[in-house]
Symmetry: C2
Subunit: 189 residues, 2 copies
DNA sequence: TTGTTACGGAACAATATGTTCTATAATATT
DNA sequence: AATATTATAGAACATATTGTTCCGTAACAA
């Protein structure tokens, strides 16, 4: 990719991220992004059709990265000495968040957090399916599998939201325990 | 309240609801609402400062009603023969939804559902606090109380969302069982 | 070096927003 | 039933935002 394109794209992402951290998505005008990113009007529209598409691209950029690294984890690997093998993914995700890669924390705790939590959740569903399904953990429950997958994904995302709303006072390990405390009783492990 | 005001307010709510059921919130112009409601531009702005405030008022109207009736329920009353006493509220809410009061179902299953699910959740939190707190059900768990309240509220809202996304194939009783299947193992009952 | 591509700026039409004014009709009050 | 009050519709308006087009310039790849 052309260096200029990459530079422009990143400048717009950066400006948009900063704006999203401080004001409501609906209140952000394309002109605001253009000004903050310091690019020409023509340039913006050459890259993104609308503000909504910009948001979509940003989200794919953010979560694609996080989920991909989580996907790459050996499924049964031990990351947490006292826990079961199933917690590796969740603990990994929390630690990844703690590093605040690409300022994702600002977005997840901003007033626009729902937008990003939604993307997070939909990506999580796929991740959980690949992590749990082949272990048969989802099969023996009295609950439908897709209800269970939805429940686990939602619960984790809500846990993250709760954690962030309290300024991440607790460690990733403690949060993992809270989270597993709500879902392990449901699974057969 | 003046009959004209009430009439106008309801016409705008109705028009807005129908628009929300078919297209994205961001894509709805104030002019669309005005046209659909068949009121004057001046009249609209006399009632609502902005589209966002209209949304807020609509939500308060919708959920205020539902939650209020649920609040009024005797806390320990049996509604469901084979269940414990704690399920009365949730079953009641599901049945209330099934009646599709004020077309709330169209909103909760539209592409704008997140907006309404958020309002639903925040109202649920208060409801759960009054329903569970005085029974001590939230105290004996290893999890922080507000984490638990958040978890229960979220899980219920996500359950409703899942139910609606599947066109409400299951009965309220079955859904209540699914839901309680995820939270009763956590509580001490 | 040469051809290609991205960029910035200005100008533009089209649309949406929110306000102000006035006349009229519905409502409440007496 | 008469009067005062208040909500409404409609038009006109300034302002802001959007998305596009044209063109000269600068950065890039070959």
């Amino acid at each position: 990719m052309d260096r200029r394109q990459k530079k422009t794209r990143e400048a717009i992402f950066k400006a948009f991220t900063e704006l999203l951290a401080e004001k409501n998505y609906n209140q952000i005008a394309v002109q605001d992004i253009i000004d903050a990113a310091n690019v020409g009007r023509t340039t913006f529209y050459a890259h993104f059709e609308t503000k909504d598409y910009l948001l979509k691209d940003l989200c794919e950029d953010l979560f694609g990265h996080i989920i991909d690294t989580a996907m790459g984890l050996p499924h049964g690997h031990y990351h947490y000495s006292s826990g079961s093998e199933t917690d590796s993914v969740f603990l990994h995700l929390l630690r990844h968040l703690q590093e605040n890669d690409r300022n994702i924390l600002e977005l997840l705790s901003s007033q626009n957090n729902e937008i990003f939590l939604r993307y997070f959740k939909s990506n999580l569903k796929m991740l959980i399916l690949t992590q749990y399904a082949d272990k048969g953990l989802l099969k023996n429950s009295k609950l439908p599998v897709d209800y269970l997958v939805n429940h686990i994904s939602s619960s984790f995302v809500e846990t993250v939201d709760w954690w962030l709303s309290r300024k991440m006072k607790e460690s990733p390990e403690v949060i993992t325990e809270y989270f597993l405390g709500t879902i392990e009783p449901i699974l057969n492990c």
